[in-house]
C-alpha cells in the first residue's frame, strides 16, 4: 500500500553546469584583456601568488598587477554584484508576486544616483561618493517603505506605487543636479557614473563590498522557502502562519543592502535582476528553494561574461550598464515570447 513517492528533482548535470559557469568565467577573465599577457605567464603568476610555486618571473611587475590587482578583483566583484542583483530580483519577484519586477522597484537606483551625483558635483573623494550613493539608496527605499506602510501592513500595491513616487522624485532631483553641474567635467562624470562600470574596482573595494552583499545574500538564501509561501499572496501566507510584515521587512532590508552596495561600487547596472531570475525560472522551475541558488550562480556568471565583452569588444571600454541593457532587453523579449508570459 505504502507507495514510495519520487519527486521530480533538478538533474545533477544542471547544477554542475551552473556551478562551472561563473568559475570558468572568473578564470577566463584573468587571461583576457587589452594588455596582452601570455597564458603561460598568467598561470605562473597565479601559481606563485596562490599556490606557493616559485617560477622565476619572466614577466614585468605590471603584468602581475594587472592579473592580481585588476582582473581578479574585477571578475570577482562582477560575480558578486551579478549574483546579488539576480538574487534580489528573484526575491522581489516572489515577494511582489510578479515575474516582471526589478530589484530597483523601490527606488534604490534613483536614490543612489542622486547621492552619487551630489558627491561628484561637490568633487568629494571616491569613497564619500560611494557612501552617499549607498546612503541615499537606503534612504529612498526607507521612504518608499514608510509611505507604503498603512494600518500596520505594507500592501504590495502600495509598495509599488510609493516606489514609483520615490523614484520619480529622486530622478527629478538628479536632473536638477545635472542641470546645475558644470558641463566640462562634472556632467560627463555623472553621466559616466550612471552608465555603470566595473572598470575601477580594486581589491580594497571587493573587501568592503563582500561583507554586506555576502551577508544579505545569505539571509535571502535562508528565507527562500518563505518566498514560495509569500508569493501565494498576503492572505494565504498569513493563514499558513507566516508573519508577512516581518518577512517582507527582512527581504526589503537584505535586497536594499545588496543593491545599494552594488550601485555604490559599480553604478547603475540594469536588467540583470530582471532577466536572470526569469531565465533561471525557465531552466530550474519556480520553486525558490532551487531558484534562489540558481540565480546566484547564473547571475554571477552572466555579469562576468558581459563585463568581459565590455573590456574586449572595443578599444575603449563600453560601460557595463549599456551592454547589460542592450543584451538584457532583447533577451527578456525573447524569454517573454518563448514563455508567452506564462512561465509554465
Amino acid at each position: 500500500m505504502e507507495k514510495e513517492f519520487i519527486e521530480k528533482k533538478l538533474p545533477r548535470w544542471k547544477w554542475v553546469v551552473m556551478i562551472l559557469f561563473p568559475l570558468v568565467l572568473v578564470v577566463a577573465s584573468l587571461f583576457l584583456g587589452r594588455y596582452v599577457i601570455p597564458a603561460k605567464q598568467v598561470v605562473q603568476i597565479l601559481a606563485n601568488k596562490f599556490f606557493g610555486f616559485n617560477f622565476i618571473p619572466t614577466w614585468t611587475s605590471s603584468a602581475e598587477t594587472v592579473v592580481i590587482q585588476v582582473r581578479l578583483p574585477r571578475a570577482i566583484m562582477g560575480g558578486l554584484i551579478g549574483a546579488g542583483l539576480s538574487m534580489s530580483g528573484a526575491a522581489f519577484q516572489g515577494m511582489f508576486q510578479n515575474p516582471l519586477v526589478s530589484p530597483y522597484i523601490l527606488g534604490v537606483s534613483a536614490g543612489a544616483s542622486f547621492g552619487a551625483a551630489v558627491g561628484l558635483v561637490l568633487e568629494l573623494p571616491a569613497l564619500v561618493v560611494q557612501g552617499l550613493a549607498f546612503g541615499f539608496g537606503i534612504l529612498a527605499v526607507g521612504i518608499a517603505y514608510f509611505l507604503a506602510h498603512i494600518y500596520k501592513t505594507t500592501p504590495i500595491l502600495m509598495l509599488v506605487l510609493s516606489g514609483m513616487v520615490v523614484s520619480t522624485f529622486f530622478q527629478s532631483m538628479l536632473s536638477l543636479i545635472k542641470f546645475i553641474a558644470d558641463d566640462e567635467e562634472k556632467l560627463p562624470a555623472i553621466t559616466f557614473w550612471l552608465m555603470g562600470s566595473l572598470g575601477s574596482i580594486k581589491v580594497k573595494d571587493l573587501a568592503i563590498a563582500i561583507i554586506p552583499i555576502g551577508l544579505s545574500m545569505l539571509v535571502i538564501y535562508l528565507v527562500r522557502w518563505r518566498l514560495n509561501v509569500l508569493s501565494m499572496g498576503d492572505k494565504e501566507s498569513r493563514s499558513l502562519g507566516v508573519n508577512n510584515e516581518l518577512i517582507k521587512a527582512i527581504i526589503i532590508i537584505a535586497t536594499t543592502v545588496i543593491t545599494s552596495t552594488a550601485v555604490a561600487f559599480s553604478g547603475i547596472i540594469g536588467w540583470v535582476g530582471q532577466v536572470i531570475p526569469h531565465f533561471c525560472r525557465m531552466i530550474v522551475g519556480p520553486d525558490h528553494r532551487v531558484l534562489i541558488p540558481a540565480t546566484l550562480l547564473v547571475g554571477a556568471g552572466y555579469l562576468i561574461l558581459i563585463d568581459n565583452f565590455c573590456r574586449l569588444l572595443t578599444a575603449t571600454e563600453i560601460p557595463l550598464g549599456i551592454l547589460t541593457a542592450v543584451i538584457g532587453a532583447p533577451v527578456f523579449a525573447y524569454l517573454l515570447r518563448r514563455t508567452k508570459g506564462g512561465w509554465n
Partner: protein
C-alpha cells in the same frame, strides 16, 4: 461533545461607525459542519476572516477551545485553523505537491525548509484525497476542482482542528462541485469541525449539520439544519420567495430549494 469555536457578541466594520454585522453569537461543537448562508454583501466571508484572525473584531470575542484568538500567535493560529480561500491562481507554476507542502509552514522555523517527512505527509494527504497523481503537475494547469482539493490537502497538512471554507464550490461545474463537496463531507464524517460559507442553500442539506443565516446586519436565524432550513427563513434571509421541493423515496429523500422568480 466539546465546544470548539465560540463567537460572542461580535461586531465588525471596516470603518468604526458602520458595522458589517453586529451582535453575532455562534457556538460550534467539535465535529459540526456549520454552513453560513446569506445574500451578497452580508459579510459571510468577512466573518470567516475574523475567525481566521485576519480582521480584528470591533466588539466581542472569538475563542477557540475556550481561548481568545487574540492570544494566539499567527503560527499557533495556523496550527489550529486552516482556511480554504476561494479559487485563486498562483503567479508562479508551482507543482501541486509544492503547494500542498506549504501547509507545513507553521511547523517550520523562519529559516527552515520542509523535511522529507513533511514531503511524505503532504503526499499522503494528496493520496487520501485521491489526487496523488497530480503531485508533479503544475498547480496553475489543473482544473478548478482539483485546485480546491489541492488547497484542502494543503490545509490538512496544517493539522488544524477547524477548517474554514469560503465558497468552496463557486466557479465549479457539477462534476467538480460533487468532487469538492464529497471531500468536505468525508472530512466532516471523520470528525473535523468545519465552517463554510455558501451561495448554494442546497449544499446545506448535503453536508451541513448546522446552519446560520446572515441578513443585513447580523444573524437572522441559526440552528440544526432541519430546524432552520424552512421556506420562511430562506425567504426572509434572501429577501425573495424561496420554495423547497422534496423528491425520492422515504429513506432516500432529497430536498432542494429554488427562488421563485416567475
Amino acid at each position: 461533545m466539546s465546544q470548539k469555536l465560540r463567537i460572542k457578541d461580535a461586531s465588525f466594520g471596516y470603518s468604526p461607525h458602520k458595522n458589517v454585522w453586529q451582535d453575532i453569537n455562534i457556538e460550534v461543537n467539535e465535529g459540526d459542519c456549520l454552513c453560513l448562508l446569506g445574500p451578497n454583501g452580508s459579510g459571510k466571508t468577512t466573518l470567516l476572516n475574523c475567525i481566521n484572525g485576519t480582521f480584528p473584531l470591533n466588539q466581542g470575542s472569538i475563542s477557540i477551545n475556550g481561548r481568545n484568538i487574540k492570544t494566539y500567535s499567527i503560527t499557533d493560529l495556523a496550527k489550529t485553523i486552516g482556511i480554504v480561500f476561494q479559487d485563486h491562481t498562483a503567479p508562479f507554476p508551482y507543482s501541486s505537491l509544492e503547494v500542498v507542502r506549504m501547509g507545513r509552514t507553521p511547523y517550520l522555523g523562519m529559516f527552515e525548509t520542509p523535511s522529507r517527512a513533511d514531503t511524505a505527509l503532504a503526499y499522503s494527504m494528496m493520496e487520501m484525497l485521491g489526487i496523488a497523481e497530480l503531485a508533479n503537475n503544475s498547480y496553475t494547469q489543473i482544473s478548478g476542482g482539483e485546485r480546491q482539493l489541492v488547497l484542502i490537502a494543503r490545509t490538512l497538512c496544517q493539522e488544524p482542528e477547524i477548517i474554514l471554507f469560503d465558497e468552496p464550490t463557486s466557479h465549479l461545474d457539477f462534476k467538480n462541485q460533487a468532487m469538492v463537496l464529497r471531500t468536505i463531507r468525508k472530512l466532516s464524517e471523520n470528525g473535523m469541525t468545519i465552517v463554510m460559507t455558501s451561495h448554494f442553500p442546497n449544499h446545506v442539506w448535503k453536508i451541513g449539520t448546522h446552519v446560520a443565516m446572515l441578513g443585513n446586519s447580523g444573524i437572522v436565524v441559526q440552528g440544526p439544519v432541519d430546524d432552520v432550513m424552512t421556506e420562511e427563513n430562506l425567504s426572509e434571509t434572501y429577501r425573495v420567495e424561496v420554495k423547497i421541493y422534496e423528491s425520492g423515496m422515504d429513506n432516500n429523500k432529497v430536498r432542494y430549494c429554488e427562488p421563485n422568480f416567475v
